[in-house]
């Protein structure tokens, strides 16, 4: 285990020049002669370190700079200023030695060959990454088992469903046992079972190989399942960097109890929580603070005729919004 952090980011900044186009015929002719651009800052003075073997989640709304940051760490983008070091390499120098130690998986990208059976694509990966036969065969068979790809490996990629394709892509992306894994929205567009399967797999990979994992996601479930630490990003800056528990405690301070009750018309349930809303046909949602959940639930069950009751987490967007509105900085 190295003392040096696996990922080290200092004052990383990325700005794009975006062309500005005006509508109308006259403006179009004007645009032939002079093009206007404006600067869009995607990532602004990013600072953080990730130790070897950590699993860190990047959270933030669309356009927050998560994907841009990941692309810079993968070497696909040059920053406008600042430095980053991954496993001791500067990513955008794209040294083959670095490329062999890392992997970037983006939800909608095909690395496998479309018309070929999956196994053939894997063989190609072996040639590209120069994996010795023994190690390769072991890794490959293990991946196939873990991701339940057995019956699929002889099929061409184009014949697989979206979920199956994603599994095959992940297997293919990890055959060279990278020490650093960048995942960009890995479960987007997949059904619940598939999402769970991939989460388990990534956790297992991290545990077994000691790989460092950085992932971005919209799904709270992804982050909750995998990450002990989250970095919340908006407008390219870090708003929160710390344990997931602390994020939930500090900012996810409310929960919603959704209950189906038999209640007299006109009755309100305001006494139970901060606010109570009648959703119609007997369903109520009650906002309570986290600490109050157990108590309020108990009271409801005792005092009302409860047909059905669930407790919902605040959606991740609400939590993050709270983080934004508090303008928090990393502790």
């Amino acid at each position: 285990m190295t003392q040096r952090p696996a990922v080290k980011v200092q004052s990383l900044r990325k700005a794009f020049d975006v062309p500005v186009r005006q509508p109308g015929l006259k403006a179009s002719i004007g645009a032939l002669f002079k093009r206007e651009t404006r600067e869009v800052v995607a990532v602004d003075e990013l600072n953080f370190e990730v130790g070897a073997g950590e699993v860190v989640g990047f959270l933030g709304p669309n356009g927050a700079g998560k994907t841009t940051s990941l692309k810079m760490l993968a070497g696909l983008l040059h920053p406008s200023s600042g430095t980053a070091e991954v496993l001791g390499y500067t990513p955008w120098q794209r040294q083959p030695a670095y490329l062999r130690k890392m992997a970037l998986i983006m939800g909608n990208r095909n690395q496998l060959q479309w018309d070929l059976p999956v196994l053939d694509s894997f063989e190609l990966v072996r040639s590209i990454y120069r994996l010795p036969r023994q190690q390769f065969t072991e890794t490959r068979d293990e991946m196939i088992a873990l991701l339940e790809l057995g019956p699929l490996v002889d099929k061409p990629v184009r014949n697989l469903s979206l979920g199956e394709r994603m599994k095959a892509e992940i297997a293919g992306a990890l055959l060279h046992l990278p020490a650093v894994l960048f995942l960009d929205e890995p479960t987007i567009g997949l059904d619940i079972t598939m999402q769970k399967r991939i989460r388990t797999f990534v956790a297992e990979y991290n545990r077994k190989q000691g790989a460092t994992v950085l992932l971005t996601s919209h799904y709270m479930a992804d982050v909750q399942a995998l990450c002990k630490r989250v970095i919340v990003i908006d407008h390219g800056t870090v708003l929160f960097d710390g344990g997931l528990q602390r994020l939930a405690d500090e900012f996810g301070s409310t929960k919603t109890i959704v209950a189906r009750l038999d209640v007299a018309d006109g009755a309100t349930l305001d006494t139970y929580g901060r606010s109570a809303t009648n959703r119609g046909d007997g369903t109520w949602s009650i906002q309570v603070t986290r600490s109050e959940v157990a108590e309020v639930t108990g009271r409801l069950l005792a005092e009302q005729a409860v047909v059905d009751l669930t407790i919902e987490d605040p959606p991740i967007e609400d939590v993050i919004e709270r983080v934004f509105s508090r303008g928090s900085t990393p502790a």
Binding site: L25, S28, I29, A31, L32, R35
Partner: protein, 274 residues
């Protein structure tokens, strides 16, 4: 751009023309939005034409007669080839490509739900006006050739020429419509398009120089002879009345056949779309 005359008896025809004009104007506006597009396209046109001309120049360097056609007359053929090419690429090809794509993807519904005849609509939807630059250059080349040749050109010849060009355009349009209609059955037509676009090159030279089997092919399979060589014959004093009649006959026949094929395919499409 065409303007519908108010006295027209057929309101659908008038609205079709108006529609065509509208599409044309919108298409032109769209094109202007792209920076430097017109300069680039003009350059491309000139380059494309230059390639053909250089080929002709090399031929001229070694001979002054090909199959009975003198040098200026070969220029006329090349010019008409370019004019036809420009017209096809500007007014016929874009809509036909769009039609084929729509059939293959199953998105043909938009033109079918309008109160205008579907065939007209799908045929005028898309225009690539810059390609017409080829036609302009072609016309100039034709005129250069006419001036230089030592065969007198009479008004009758010019009238025949214009008629034959019109018929030739219609012929090529019908041909492409039939090709596009096969997409109703075959789905994958890209390769056939490539095949015929390749064969189109044979139109650069008068059809008479090709060996028999090829000549028949490009007269009756791909109607190039009637679209290019025959109009050239009109301007170079070779036109036989039979050819004029033949061209008219072919055009009419193709109009009917292509329309029938289109209707049949449309019916199939309506039944098969999910």
């Amino acid at each position: 751009m065409t303007r519908p005359s108010p006295g027209r008896r057929d309101p659908d025809r008038a609205s079709s023309l108006r529609l065509a004009a509208l599409f044309f104007r919108v298409g032109a506006q769209n094109e202007l939005q792209y920076r430097l597009n017109f300069v680039v396209q003009l350059l491309q046109s000139i380059l494309g034409v230059a390639a053909g001309l250089v080929g002709l120049a090399v031929v001229f360097a070694h001979t002054n007669n090909l199959g009975g056609w003198s040098r200026p007359q070969l220029l006329v053929v090349m010019g008409i080839f370019l004019m036809m090419n420009g017209i096809t690429q500007a007014f016929i090809q874009p809509s036909m490509n769009l039609l084929i794509a729509d059939i293959q993807k199953g998105t043909l519904d938009f033109p079918l739900t309008k109160p205008v005849d579907a065939q007209v609509l799908v045929s005028v939807r898309s225009v690539d006006i810059w390609q017409a630059a080829d036609s302009l250059i072609g016309l100039i080349i034709v005129i250069v050739g006419l001036v230089q040749q030592d065969v007198a050109v009479h008004l009758v010849d010019v009238v025949s020429f214009v008629l034959l060009m019109l018929m030739g355009t219609v012929t090529i349009y019908c041909f492409w419509l039939m090709l596009a209609s096969t997409a109703f059955w075959l789905i994958k037509t890209d390769e056939m398009q490539e095949l015929f676009q390749g064969l189109y090159r044979t139109g650069q030279y008068p059809v008479g120089i090709y060996p028999g089997w090829l000549r028949y092919g490009i007269t009756f399979v791909v109607p190039l002879a009637f679209a290019i060589t025959v109009p050239a014959e009109a301007l170079t004093g070779r036109l036989e009345h039979l050819a004029l009649v033949g061209a008219a006959g072919l055009t009419l026949a193709l109009l009917v056949i292509s329309r029938l094929l289109w209707r049949r395919g449309l019916k199939r499409y309506g039944g098969a779309s999910s």
